[in-house]
Structure formats: structure tokens, C-alpha cells
């Protein structure tokens, strides 16, 4: 099994200059297979269609989480309405200020084990899949890898998949 057989092909993507308002709209409604459900992450491509980052749900949470709260234990001292205030101030921020820039990718011909290797070692749940020219051709999700792995287990037992 290779990355390109498991990936969700040609995903939707964001531009670094998009505002967070645009980005979260897309994050909330992006399609996954045939179901219309919120996605956990979108690739960010520049004008040359080169991958420059990933924007995930965690990045959005990080955008409303003041950095100083990460420096000490201050969670107990926040107040009701704090998130809403920061969220309102953050909607005009640009995607490139919030996205994760160190993106781990796999080649479309990468083996399944290589994909698992990246996911476990980097604690990530999704991998952009690149073709030989370095263009993003799809996204590989932990969920799909999980199904591939469990399928292998169940088939070995000789039982049918329920």
C-alpha cells in the first residue's frame, strides 16, 4: 500500500494572505469524501502552488490563546468572554501568521510504514502528499491509515470485515 492509494486526492487549500475569517469558513465546511464535515487541517499554498504551511484546528485554538498563558499556569485566572474578545480581534489576522510552517510531507510513492513513521515520530494526524514535482496532490489522514492497518489485521485472521 502506498500513500497515493490512501490519500484523499486534490484537497482544498488556503493562501497565506487569506484572513482567518476566510480560513475558518473553509475549515468548518471543507469536504471530506462525500460527507460535508469540518476538516482538521488544510494545506497552505503560495502563488506558485508550493506548500508553505498547514492550518489545523489546533492552530486556530493557538491563535486565540495568548502566548503569555503558555509561559505560566494562568488558566484559572482567565475570565468569561476572554476567548470571544481575542477571537474577534484575530479574525483579520493572515493565515501565514497562524499556520504551522514546519510541515512534514510524504512522497506519493511512500510506503504505508513510512507514513506511520512520520505520524508517530512527529505526533501528527495528517500528512500532505507530494508528487515528484513537489506539488500537493492529496492529504493522508490518520483515520485512513487506521483503516488500512485494521483491515490488514482482520484479513489476516481470515474473517470478513464487518
Amino acid at each position: 500500500m502506498k500513500a497515493k492509494e490512501l490519500m484523499i486526492p486534490s484537497p482544498e487549500y488556503l493562501h497565506p494572505d487569506d484572513t482567518l475569517r476566510t480560513a475558518v469558513n473553509l475549515l468548518r465546511t471543507a469536504r471530506r469524501d462525500e460527507d460535508k464535515l469540518g476538516t482538521k487541517g488544510l494545506p497552505v499554498l503560495d502563488e506558485n502552488s508550493k506548500l508553505v504551511g498547514m492550518l489545523s484546528m489546533a492552530d486556530i485554538l493557538r491563535a486565540v490563546f495568548p502566548f503569555y498563558m503558555g509561559m505560566m499556569e494562568l488558566g484559572e485566572f482567565s475570565w468569561d468572554g476572554m476567548v470571544e474578545e481575542v477571537a474577534a480581534k484575530s479574525e483579520d489576522k493572515h493565515v501565514d501568521n497562524v499556520m504551522s510552517k514546519n510541515v512534514i510531507t510524504v512522497n506519493e510513492d511512500a510506503s504505508l510504514m513510512e507514513c506511520i513513521d512520520h505520524m508517530l515520530k512527529n505526533r501528527i494526524k495528517r500528512l500532505p502528499v507530494l508528487n515528484k514535482e513537489g506539488r500537493v496532490v492529496g492529504m493522508l489522514y490518520e483515520r485512513d491509515v487506521f483503516f488500512a492497518v485494521t483491515k490488514a489485521m482482520l484479513e489476516k485472521e481470515g474473517g470478513a470485515i464487518e
Binding site: 502566548f67 503569555y68 498563558m69 509561559m71 505560566m72 499556569e73 494562568l74 484559572e76 485566572f77 475570565w79
Partner: protein, 453 residues
């Protein structure tokens, strides 16, 4: 007095090698193009490789090499703080202080300044700022006020407060070690002037920010509703930490009588707290020691040791003597004001590391018959040490790069979306630096030259 110090300075290849390493290393440190620790380590290695110092001198001889007193004092205090931090005591103190101000923005600013100064007298300035500034930003957000005055004031107050004691700021630790001064010497000689300076500082900020900071009553409630008791995560460890901290401070107060160096007291405290804390593996606590700072010190001591060995420091001290003509009041004043302006623009740690041997060399020339403590503690020399400490520590307030605490708050302000430009910091920092050094000038003049106490 050591016999080699009277030898004439020989200008040979080694002299030029030591000079070149020093000039290039300091130039690179000031330029901030390469991390200062890497420069210090490589410079120190070159000093030994090129034969300016022997390894034995760099590692084991107090006059030329690493000052382990400074190193172990810094490491031990960092270990103690690293163990204390997760107890939540620092969050508790900061939230309690904000509530003490009843949510009034200026009152909170003033109380934070005092708390920061007091904490900084016992902890490293950078540590203090890292423990206070996050809460400062939270309170500023809660009150919807500009956080910049709070951040700038945090840095300035930590630099002022750190001047008060032997352990408050690295320059004092270095001066104490070289001049063989005790913890209580700093309390008697520097704490009084720092208390006065803090009062002057509070009056100054009343004029600067007293009117501009305003908030709404309903926002004050946000602060008043914070329950500082929730901050305490580990009451048992907190009690143990406070006990050890008490032992350490008592140890500092009595270290002269106990004939123990401050580094020994701090090391004892760190070891005791590690044992009492119930930590099974000290890996984390030790990994969080600021090793880049520690290695910066070690490298720097060796580079300066090379300069001392070849006589470069002696040449500089001849120059200073030529200017001051042996007038000790003039020397104190030159040292204080030159140190202040020098420390405003360059790191005060390499500056003081250079000045210490220079002052000792100068003293050897002025009083060739004396040596050891009799020389270092010659009554005429004491005000020069205090002037060096006051100038080098308070000078850090002058610019955004004058002290590590300033660099940290400027970085935090930028992260919070409020840029503090170099000029903006200087607009507050420089007048306050001049004001506080002026207070120190009057103090040194009055106490040591008029009253003679």
C-alpha cells in the same frame, strides 16, 4: 601582591593574540550576529589552543580562569527556582499583588514595580521578569489597558531591585567574588540607596503614567474575582521550598561568620531541596538550568584571563590612573558614570568581568605594599566597588539592549502585538537611568566622601 604584576608589560605575539581574540570576540558579541555563548566558548578555546593561557590556568587558577564561585552560585539558584516554579508560588504572588491594587491600573503598576524589585533582589533579573511579565500581560488584558508601561516598568524595576544584593544581579555576584565582599556588605552599602532609588522611581512613574492608565469598573471586577489560592498546585513542595529558601537566605546573611562562600550556601540549598522535593530523576530540573548563560560566563572568564595574563588590563588601568591622578572620588565617579553608559549599550556581564581585574590592578599600583583582603578592602577602594555595581546594574536601564530583562520584555511585547522600538524604550529608560545614577552619585558622595561612614 603577586610578583608577576610588577613585571613590565611585554608586547609580543602572545600579547597581540590575546588582544585580537578579545577585540574580535567582543565585537561579535556586540554585533549579535552569532550567539554570544558560541563566541565565548570558541574564544576561550582559542585562548588555550594559541598558548595565551595554559589549560591549568584557565580551569584552575582564580586570577586567570573560570570563577567557579559565580558559576556554582548561578547554577544552584537556578536549580532552586526550577524546583519552586511548578508549586505556583510565583503566580500566587503576582495575582495577589494585582488584587492588592484593587484593580486600579496605576496602583497595580506601582505594586508590580515594588514586587518585581524585591523578588529581583533575591532572584536573577531575567527569572523575575519571566515570572512577573506573563501575569502583567494577563492583568493588562483583563483591564483592557496598554501593557507597554507595565512591561517596561517590570524590566526597569528588576534592574533596580537586582542592584540591592549580592545575588540580585550577575555583576554583583562577580564583584563580590573578585573583591571578596560578603552578602551583608551589599545589604549595608547598596540596599539603602536602592530603597531610595525605588521611591524616586515610583514618583517618576507617577508623573509618566499616573494619568494615562484608565479602566472601567466592570473590568476591575475581573481582577478582583481571580482567586490567587487556586495558583498553588503543590502546597507540600511549596512548604519545603520556602523552608530551603529561608535556610539559603539565612546562610547568605551569615556566610561571612560561617566562613562559607555564597556559592557553597546556594549549592547546599540546591542539594537539600533536590533531596527533599521527592523528585526521582533530576533530569528536568537540571536541563532547565540556563546552560547558555553558564557557558557564556565560563568562556568569558577565560578570554578575560588571557587579557590579564598578557598585561592588557594593566595597560588600561594605567590609562585610568593617568586620568584620575589617583583621586579616589574622581575614580568612583568616573567608574560609576562610565559603567552606566557602557552598560546601557553593551552587556554588563563582560563589562564587569573586564573592570574587576582593572580595578584590582589599579589598587595594586596605588598601594603597592598591600595585598589580599587588606588591598581589596582598603577603605579608599570600597566606594569604587560600590560605584561599579551601581553604574553597571542601573546602567542596564538605559536602552532596550542594556540588560537581558529589557531584551525579554521587548520580545514579549512584540509577541503580544505591541512593538517597543529601540527609541521608545530609551525615551523612558535613559532618563530613568540618569535619574537613578544621579541618586547613586549623591549617595556615594555623601556617604563615603562627606560623612565617611
Amino acid at each position: 601582591m603577586s610578583p608577576e604584576a610588577v613585571d613590565p608589560i611585554v608586547i609580543n605575539t602572545t600579547f597581540w593574540i590575546a588582544t585580537a581574540i578579545f577585540v574580535i570576540a567582543y565585537g561579535l558579541i556586540v554585533s549579535e550576529k552569532i550567539h554570544k555563548t558560541m563566541i565565548a566558548i570558541f574564544g576561550a578555546a582559542l585562548v588555550i589552543v594559541l598558548g595565551v593561557l595554559e589549560q591549568r590556568e584557565a580551569f584552575h587558577i582564580e586570577e586567570f580562569g573560570i570563577d567557579w564561585n559565580v558559576i556554582f552560585l548561578l547554577i544552584s539558584m537556578m536549580v532552586i527556582i526550577n524546583i519552586m516554579r511548578p508549586t505556583g508560588v510565583f503566580e500566587y504572588i503576582a495575582i495577589k499583588s494585582a488584587k492588592l491594587g484593587k484593580g486600579e491600573p496605576f496602583k497595580i503598576l506601582a505594586i508590580f514595580a515594588v514586587v518585581t524589585a524585591v523578588m529581583s533582589a533575591f532572584l536573577d533579573n531575567v527569572t523575575t521578569v519571566l515570572l512577573i511579565a506573563p501575569v502583567t500581560l494577563l492583568i493588562a488584558d483583563a483591564l483592557d489597558v496598554d501593557p507597554i508601561p507595565y512591561l517596561i516598568s517590570n524590566a526597569i524595576a528588576s534592574n533596580i531591585g537586582g542592584t540591592a544584593t549580592l545575588i540580585g544581579d550577575p555583576p554583583n555576584i562577580m564583584i563580590a567574588s573578585k573583591a571578596k565582599l560578603e552578602f551583608m556588605d551589599f545589604i549595608y552599602n547598596l540596599s539603602p540607596v536602592i530603597i531610595v532609588t525605588m521611591v524616586v522611581y515610583l514618583i517618576a512613574i507617577k508623573f509618566i503614567w499616573g494619568k494615562s492608565l484608565k479602566t472601567k469598573d466592570e473590568l476591575k471586577d475581573r481582577v478582583m474575582q481571580m482567586n490567587e489560592k487556586e495558583a498553588i498546585k503543590d502546597p507540600v513542595l511549596l512548604k519545603k521550598s520556602l523552608f530551603v529558601l529561608g535556610v539559603v537566605i539565612a546562610g547568605f546573611v551569615m556566610h561571612g561568620a560561617l566562613h562559607l562562600e555564597p556559592a557553597t550556601i546556594a549549592l547546599f540549598g540546591a542539594g537539600l531541596l533536590l533531596l527533599l522535593s521527592g523528585i526521582h530523576n533530576p533530569h528536568h530540573v537540571l536541563a532547565e538550568v540556563e546552560w547558555p548563560t553558564i557557558f557564556f560566563f565560563m568562556g568569558l572568564f577565560i578570554i578575560i584571563g588571557g587579557r590579564v595574563k598578557v598585561g592588557l588590563i594593566e595597560m588600561a588601568s594605567n590609562e585610568v590612573l593617568a586620568i584620575t591622578q589617583g583621586n579616589m572620588f574622581a575614580t568612583s565617579m568616573v567608574v560609576m558614570w562610565f559603567s552606566a553608559f557602557a552598560s546601557a549599550f553593551v552587556d554588563n556581564i563582560p563589562y564587569v568581568a573586564t573592570m574587576n581585574p582593572l580595578i584590582i590592578d589599579m589598587a595594586q599600583k596605588l598601594w603597592p605594599d598591600l595585598s589580599g583582603i587588606a588591598l581589596l578592602h582598603k577603605p579608599e577602594l570600597m566606594p569604587v566597588w560600590w560605584s561599579l555595581a551601581l553604574g553597571a546594574c542601573l546602567g542596564g536601564n538605559g536602552t532596550a539592549i542594556g540588560a537581558s530583562a529589557n531584551v525579554i520584555v521587548v520580545g514579549m511585547a512584540e509577541k503580544a502585538g505591541h512593538k517597543i522600538s529601540f527609541v521608545k524604550f530609551m525615551l523612558y529608560g535613559m532618563p530613568i537611568m540618569i535619574l537613578t545614577v544621579a541618586v547613586s552619585t549623591i549617595y556615594v558622595w555623601l556617604r563615603y566622601y562627606v560623612l565617611g561612614i
